[in-house]
Amino acid sequence: MSTFLTEETTQVTDSAVSIRLSSLDTLESEAIHIIREVVAEFEKPALLFSGGKDSVVMLHLATKAFWPGKVPFPVLHVDTGHNFPEVIDFRDRTVERLGLKLVVGSVQEFIDRGELAERADGTRNPLQTVPLLDAIQQNKFDAVFGGGRRDEDKARAKERILSLRDEFGQWDPRNQRPELWNLYNGRHTVGQHVRAFPISNWTELDIWRYIERENIELPGLYYAHQREVFARDGMWRAVGEVSQPLPHEDVITKTVRYRTVGDMSCTGAVESDAYTVADVVVEVAASTLTERGATRADDRISEAAMEDRKKDGYF
């Protein structure tokens, strides 16, 4: 069949063109289309950038979407105060390299002012919502790009590419706008804003294959390294300022890497000898655990943990 070329080539016969796009090319093209739509239709977009792999891929896509111009929006980071120092360093270098403005919402400041309370389990991930909404309001952002993917969680599987949020940032899964063809409806009224998820249709493996193909730099802790860890909740937790072992938890040195990079207080490492991006691609392809199941304590709280956070305004 002529439509099944056996390699990624282009055939030209008369005026007919047959370009066999790989799934990554198609996903990239879709994401860039969405990013450009949002920039064209909104007054003041921003991109949520944590230094995590999904947000790094998002920023990379944005640089490609507007090349040779610079990325035309600021990046926003909600700093839980419990971030890995090397990730904050990576964040700052990236912002500098691309000449971007960085807006930081600080969980610590909200706690210091008494507007947020530390949770009993020490996890700060769910606390990000309040500073996030505050930053969106203060800066009058009307669209915020996120690196959420539908394969991450069953609540995210029902998320729209453009997700309308009310004054409280709430997600109402029962009242979402139907999304048809590639026509995205971003209309919103005063006080509302839109979360945009251009990489909705990517899987974890797509992300890693793309990072490999595009040679994208990531924080080093995504790759295998030696680290002092202790076991808790069936995960390896790093020893750090905010993540101390209890007396019965033994500290050992292991070769680990992180599959997700979030708050140190709830993100676990996995044992791994994947030192390079190619190793990681193989590891992810062979993995028998979902990335959130393997590494996020906050998603183990209940079956609907993500759904509940999203309804409260989380990404």
């Binding site: 063109v17 370009i19 796009l21 799934s23 289309h33 490609k64 111009g69 390299r97 209309r187 899987t203």
Partner: protein
């Protein structure tokens, strides 16, 4: 599989292509089980998810055993969604699922059938290369099947696969299957299947519960010699894989890239020739259809102006200069002449788009609880342009079971009907029958911004419209 052999496989594997499909059917047809089976047997479900589902299955006393030797799990739970859905035992919205084989990556739009089936099916089908419609082998073709097929025909889904499920419950009877198959083909003929709508309609006997003919061909249906469902999905051509031509080249301009000195610092640091990009000006967008090459003659279509014809001198993508590009690539196009081109304009193959029109005749799939009334003021979003519009009249609504048009002056949630709209500015409208992207539009409520309807452009009455498309 060892990681070494996996590594070797990843190394040699061709890049997979992307295939989008949707499922339509009700819970009773075993749709959730079928989707769960596809995900499970294609190994898209990881151990922790499977363990959780196995625990829940045991808690609920699920006794179904898989013929393929899997542990007794309720596969339908794999597609379990939100808390509200679990509590009420219903599915309220389209869910997207992902799985891959060696050949393809699949995006599955899982469309619930019970509530608001038209809204969900229209949404899922709008981007689908193929749709799988489920039928319960014990019940055969029902009114709902006719409705589904009718919507798919209207939306021009190229490939439809009817999965006759629960074939195990009719003792793998060939005669039952053949009868249903004949009924399906009869509905297809009534709908006028052909090159412009559903181009092919395949009927496959399956048992989602046991896995027969889902991923692998079953020995229990020796009379069925066709491919298993997944084989079909792996081999059908995706719309993007078809040959494309300049003739159908369409490129709605999203925005103008004109850095005027605000060049990307990383590119400059990497040695970009700053002088060469001082006056850079390109039109960014995604090719919605067809293809374009350097040197091709194209027209810039700006509403209210005559088409301006020029030549493509550059197809840029993130620092690469391309010789040609095709749908669905996102690129930036440079033109020989310095026209004033802006968002909302369309670049198309020269002389292929008819004059822009302010009179819009369309089929509308009404998706909102707020009904359509004649005289309503709405917004129409077409390509990258949004204009105001007045609903002049509603020309009838379609009885999806009989395919007949009934007189009405209003459209309500899940209705599909005809309407004529007057636009505040002319748009380069094209018949949806021939242009699945530039023939599509959204109807938006100007008050709250909600999407009211999916619109499919029809030819003006008096033009030579295809008779079959009287729906």
């Amino acid at each position: 599989m060892s990681t070494d052999s996996l590594a070797a496989e990843l190394e040699t594997a061709l890049p997979t292509t992307l295939f989008r499909f949707a499922t339509a059917g009700s819970v009773d047809d075993g749709k959730s089980t079928l989707v769960g089976r596809l995900l499970h047997d294609s190994k898209a479900i990881l151990a922790d998810t499977l363990d959780a589902v196995a625990r829940t299955s045991a808690d609920r006393g699920f006794g179904g055993a898989g013929a393929t030797g899997t542990k007794a799990i309720d596969l339908a739970l794999l597609t379990d969604g939100l808390r509200a859905e679990r509590e009420q035992g219903i599915t309220i919205d389209v869910a997207y699922r992902y799985f891959a084989t060696d050949r393809r990556s699949f995006i599955l739009a899982d469309c619930p059938g019970h509530v608001q089936y038209t809204k969900n099916t229209v949404t899922g089908a709008s981007t689908a290369d193929a749709v799988v419609v489920l039928i319960d082998a014990r019940k055969g073709v029902l009114e709902q099947t006719r409705r589904h097929l009718s919507v798919l025909q209207l939306l021009r889904v190229a490939h439809v696969i009817v999965a006759v499920n629960k074939i195990d419950l009719v003792d793998f009877s060939e005669s039952v299957f053949r009868e249903i198959e004949a009924d399906v083909q009869q509905v297809g003929r009534e709908l006028g299947l052909g090159a412009d709508g559903i181009t092919d309609l395949l009927v496959v006997p399956v048992s989602a519960l046991d896995g027969d003919n889902v991923v692998d061909r079953s020995e229990r249906t020796p009379w069925y010699t066709g491919p298993a469902l997944l084989e079909v999905l792996e081999t059908l051509p995706a719309a993007d894989e078809l040959e494309s031509h300049l003739e159908s080249f369409r490129f709605p301009v999203q925005l103008v890239i004109r850095p005027q000195g605000a060049l990307a610092p990383d590119a400059v640091a990497a040695g970009m020739d700053v002088e060469a990009y001082r006056d850079y000006r390109a039109y960014a967008g995604q090719i919605t259809e067809g293809s374009v090459k350097l040197g091709d003659k194209v027209s810039v279509l700006t509403p209210g102006q005559d088409p301006r014809t020029t030549t493509v001198v550059g197809i840029d993508f993130a620092g690469a200069s391309l010789e040609e590009a095709a749908a669905p690539q996102s690129v930036a196009i440079r033109l020989a002449e310095e026209f004033d081109v802006a968002r909302g304009d369309t670049i198309a193959a020269a002389g292929t788009v008819r004059e822009a029109s302010a009179d819009l005749y369309a089929s509308l799939c009404w998706l909102s609880p707020k009904p359509l009334r004649e005289g309503a003021k709405v917004l129409v979003k077409h390509g990258t342009r949004t204009v105001q519009a007045l609903v002049r009249n509603v020309g009838g609504k379609l009885d999806l079971a009989t395919f007949k048009l009934e007189p009405t002056s209003t459209l309500e949630l899940n209705d599909i009907g005809h309407a004529q709209l007057r636009l505040a500015a002319p748009l380069p409208l094209e018949n949806y029958l021939h242009h699945r992207r530039t023939g599509a539009f959204l109807v938006i409520d100007p008050l709250d911004g909600n999407t009211l309807a999916a619109g499919l452009v029809k030819d003006h009455p008096g033009d030579h419209e295809d008779e079959r498309y009287s729906i």
